[in-house]
Subunit: 345 residues, 2 copies
């Protein structure tokens, strides 16, 4: 085996010559386009197989499509994304489209770099998962390539959206805890100051959902929200703060599983037991929430469904770029585990 053999690749011209037809004809077969008889198709396909021809995606992109879909992923570590991704790739595996992931790096600048790179490569469509970029940037991207935004509330005429109902998810937790008898239910949120992001980011919607659900249960006075960040450390600090309250909460609803991990740590340090003294719930139903030693009550977003819908919407929009924008909202489900129980007497 040669180190990187310089052998010329088989091109459409070679296929055409071998099949004794024009390159136009081969191109038509490749794209399943109109204007080729069944016999012609058969002949061309045979030539393709015999020569082992594969089209050059870049060259195709010069005139037509690249058959490439870009998925912007802000943070690969987030154990919730793989589900979405499976949904996307699953929907696309029977098509000609190939999915590539762009590491977003969790910042506006990194996100911009990736989306620009995708546009430079003329990807046919882009799926942005839980982007942190301002809406104007999303719209700018969407104005030059078909785009679906996942996990941002708020709609735009230029891109489609798929979200899980975070308000509903927050209620699921609050109702579950209240159903067990809890009244002093506290919440740890990810601090959000920017007004449009308060309206669009899932973390803010979860906090809103918490407040709404508490009020609906007549527990308005027990509303207690600590603002930190969606990290383990944020959970730890938030819990420390809650544990310093004159009257301790009997349950903590952390806005994300990873936050709940910090809470569990702080609670253990304080010498309290879970769920004996305090119940803890997270959000996202991440892999580790299910692990035996943790067994964290959480909310499952239908990740697979989210991905499937995003892929579907994107294909539709690639097919018809001027169809009106669509918003899909899915419902989460509660996954009760061993970190929540009746409050102490």
């Amino acid at each position: 085996m040669e180190p990187s053999a310089p052998s010329r690749r088989v091109t459409i011209v070679d296929v055409a010559r071998h099949a004794q037809v024009s390159t136009t004809a081969v191109s038509k077969v490749l794209r399943n386009a109109y204007g080729a008889s069944p016999e012609m198709r058969a002949k061309v396909r045979r030539a393709i197989d015999e020569l082992g021809y594969r089209p050059h995606a870049g060259a195709r992109g010069l005139r037509g499509q690249t058959y490439t879909i870009g998925v912007m992923l802000p943070d690969i570590r987030n154990p919730f994304f793989p589900e979405i991704l499976d949904g996307i790739t699953g929907s696309l595996e029977d098509t000609e489209y190939q999915v590539f992931l762009g590491p977003g790096g969790n910042g506006e600048k990194a996100e911009a770099r990736v989306t620009e790179a995708m546009i430079d490569r003329r990807m046919d469509g882009i799926i942005m998962i839980a982007p942190v970029s301002p809406r104007t940037h999303l719209e700018q991207v969407a104005s030059s390539v078909p785009t679906v935004v996942v996990g941002r509330h708020g709609s735009s005429p230029v891109y489609d959206t798929v979200v899980d109902d975070d308000v509903e998810g927050a209620s699921l937790i609050v109702d579950h805890l209240a159903g067990l008898g809890h009244r002093r239910i506290a919440h740890i949120e990810h601090r959000e100051t920017d007004p449009t992001r308060r309206a669009e980011m899932p973390n803010a919607r979860r906090a809103d959902g918490y407040r709404q659900a508490m009020r609906a249960l007549g527990l308005a006075e027990s509303i207690d929200v600590v603002s930190t960040s969606y990290t383990q450390e944020g959970g730890y600090k938030g819990a420390k703060e809650l544990l310093a309250r004159p009257r301790l909460p009997t349950a903590v609803f952390a806005g994300a599983d990873i936050v709940a991990m910090g809470v569990l740590e702080a609670v253990a340090e304080a010498g309290l037991s879970v769920p004996g003294d305090i119940s803890v719930a997270g959000y996202d139903n991440t892999t580790f929430a299910a692990l035996g030693p943790i067994s964290l009550t959480s909310v499952d977003q239908a990740g697979h469904e989210i991905g499937r819908n995003a892929a579907r919407l994107l294909l539709e929009r690639i097919a018809d770029r001027r169809r009106p924008s669509v918003q899909v909202r899915l419902s989460p489900t509660l996954v009760p585990r061993r970190t929540t129980a009746r409050p102490p007497e």
Copy 2:
């Protein structure tokens, strides 16, 4: 904002006209190529900025490079990969290269699809992380594009490799346990039958390392290996089997953290305590190993370093495709936590 405005993009021709030079000149500036005076460069760069020009990667690829690096990731869920990825993207963020991830889907077929797609898109180089494909396929890929293989032992003249020393990692654990006083140390491995994979796959190397280390300590008779798979269930089943032994092991070295999770579950079910009755160690130092309630002793592979090296080797090979292949081997470190302690008296 128009839905997907049809506005023509700025091309190199526009830039040339605006700067009153030839397209050749602009191209030279873009590539930092020889044959452009400083004044010329300045003039062209200004025009580029004024027009907001961005080169079309596909068109570039037709003649030259695409400035795109593909990273094949077999399983996004593996919490060890993000570290490697950070190392890669970190090394590349000051270059013109853009990284895209191809979801490998943990199977030969899926891996082949992704690598072919990368080649079809004329990516300048490919990094394959822990591929499961047979070596012939790796060499085939490497023969058409510069390639670095991460996490496969065994070298090839056509691709570079970066591995962490799994034999050494296994010793770290065995020595650690023996140092605490354990003698009956069992191991749960991922079953591997194919002979070349036994030599190349990390899981097989870990099992070998375990045996070697046991023999080196004079514990050859206590060698006890159970073959299941690197999954939580595999750990659970493996542990069940070990717990049915007439003389229980006092420590279990699971070949991966996720396996250790299954072990912890089985041990808890058996009414035994960790590390009181039995010590448990994993491998990979995944995120959840560090979580408070778990606190699993593990082995840390220098993921970041692995990624940095892979990126460096790839750039070198892109620059000189016929330089001899290089193998980099890094050393892991032990991360002792609360699941390992002295054996019961």
